[in-house]
């Protein structure tokens, strides 16, 4: 167990490598109840989110989800978010646990003047994720009133799981097919137990934060505090597409983000494969021909690829020509190969 943003979280249940591989090959079960849930509801909820976030949320259809960000006036990322439109006038904003208070405060302030209420509903929801190629097959018999095949990627529906009401969304943070189940806290244990016993035969195992981190890294997904933070804009992270300049109305950060979009990012997020058994960890320097050219943001052994991988911010031109990249790992220069992100893409 580990302390994480005020929650006690399992780093691993047994072996994080085995948990990671189970998610790639069969399925894993995650308790993500630490994630923040912020409800934005009212006739102008969509307009309030359009102003508060960089995405075009009023255009989101009910039952669909979108990956987006909330930025400061200067374009810096306050958090990355998944937003579900539960109904015409009802949105659920999912924030990182460490940022829930900041996101809630910013949404409340930015919704002022709109006919929309903002509520921190984190305590009203538990969140269980089932991820992996076997996820749909394990969930389906426990969610008989839902047609899982009709829930497309980044969509969701209300239904019953093991007889308990839940918002069942086809979203996740692993690079695999899977579902995230938002339920009442008192229903979390029965739902968890039903999935765990229903999935054991198919290879489902409980998976902790350590596996979640290596899964998202292989999938090239950014983590707030590593790849994202107030000192980077979505453009540095290679996620400029989430900024919707053509949406109606004003939004917080537009001016700074437009300037950044036209000038090009000062650094860019890149993937590295490390040519050693050693791990290039957060904060380690990246060198081009021995000269500092960037910083590692996340690094781990890739259980799927069998080599250490990393994401790093690199200066423009760091990889120009035949420059040889390396990472400074506690005094040793270890060769690194620039690698397209994501490191892993599932077969469709």
């Amino acid at each position: 167990m580990t302390s994480f943003a005020g929650w006690q979280m399992p780093l691993r249940y047994a072996s994080e490598t085995a948990e990671h591989l189970a998610v790639r090959r069969a399925a894993g079960l995650f308790d993500l109840s630490h994630m923040g849930e912020i409800a934005v509801a009212g006739p102008e909820a969509g307009a309030a989110l359009d102003y508060a976030l960089v995405g075009n949320l009023s255009a989101l259809r009910p039952g669909r989800a979108r990956y987006t960000m909330i930025c400061a006036e200067d374009g810096g990322v306050l958090d990355d978010l998944v937003v579900y439109r539960l109904g015409d006038d009802e949105f659920l904003v999912i924030a990182n646990a460490s940022n829930t208070a900041v996101v809630f405060g910013a949404l409340r302030d930015r919704a002022a003047g709109h006919d929309a209420g903002v509520t921190d509903a984190t305590g009203d929801y538990a969140l269980i994720a089932i991820q992996g190629p076997e996820a749909a097959g394990i969930l389906a018999p426990l969610a008989a009133d839902l047609d899982l095949g009709a829930i497309r990627y980044y969509a969701g529906a209300f239904g019953e799981v093991a007889g308990r009401r839940a918002w069942v969304a086809r979203t996740g943070y692993t690079g695999e097919d899977g579902f995230e189940l938002f339920c009442r806290p008192e229903d979390a244990v029965p739902i968890w137990d039903a999935l765990a016993s229903g999935g054991a035969g198919a290879g489902l195992v409980p998976a902790g934060l350590a596996a979640r981190d290596t899964l998202r890294l292989e999938a090239g997904m950014p983590l707030y505090g590593n790849e994202l933070g107030p000192d980077v804009t979505p453009f540095e992270a290679g996620l400029g597409r989430v900024v919707k300049f053509d949406k109606p109305g004003e939004f917080v950060g537009r001016e700074a983000l437009a300037a950044r979009a036209s000038s090009g990012p000062a650094r860019r997020l890149a993937g590295l494969t490390i040519q050693s058994r050693r791990i290039a960890r957060h904060g380690y320097p990246v060198l081009a021909d021995g000269k500092a050219c960037g910083t590692v943001t996340s690094g781990a052994p890739s259980p799927t690829l069998g080599v250490p991988i990393a994401m790093a911010y690199l200066e423009p031109g760091a990889d120009a020509g035949d420059r040889v990249l390396s990472v400074g790992i506690r005094g040793n220069e270890v060769p690194a190969q620039l690698t397209d992100l994501p490191f892993y893409r599932r077969r469709q």
């Binding site: 072996s15 490598t17 791990i279």
Partner: protein, 133 residues
């Protein structure tokens, strides 16, 4: 969690097994569980002099990297090369196949291995891991 009674321990979670004047060294099951899956181990070279309480290598797991401390003074006479190919032996069998290095230590007046006086017994080490929670 296992803490074999016939071994000696350090507060840094190494174990020591002594035969004659040769001390075998590894990390405890408690340490291996705390680290999680071990992915890389840097061991001292054969012939290197090691000093009790001083770092002599590194143990790298998925989530962290930690110094490996020598529990004894002496000269490294053998290292476990199996760990290069399979560092997970440290998790699977920390007290047997996961041993890390062997040190020839000096003899005391009785011809026994001269060990640092502050090595812990199994009971003392177990107490230490319990109070660490």
């Amino acid at each position: 969690m296992s803490v074999p009674a016939d071994l000696r321990y350090t507060p840094e979670h190494e174990w020591v097994s002594v035969e004659g004047t040769t001390a075998s060294v590894g990390i405890t099951e408690y340490a291996a569980q705390q680290l999680g899956d071990v992915v890389y181990i840097s061991l001292p070279d054969t012939g290197a002099a090691v000093t009790a309480g001083e770092p002599c290598g590194e143990v790298e797991s998925v989530k962290s990297v930690s110094d490996l401390y020598s529990p004894v003074d002496g000269e490294v006479v053998e290292v476990n090369n199996e760990l290069e190919d399979d560092p997970s032996l440290v998790n699977a069998e920390p007290y047997t196949a996961g041993w890390m290095f062997r040190v020839r230590v000096a003899q005391d007046g009785n011809g026994d291995a001269a060990l640092p006086p502050d090595l812990l017994s199994a009971a003392e080490y177990e107490e230490l891991t319990k109070s660490a929670g």
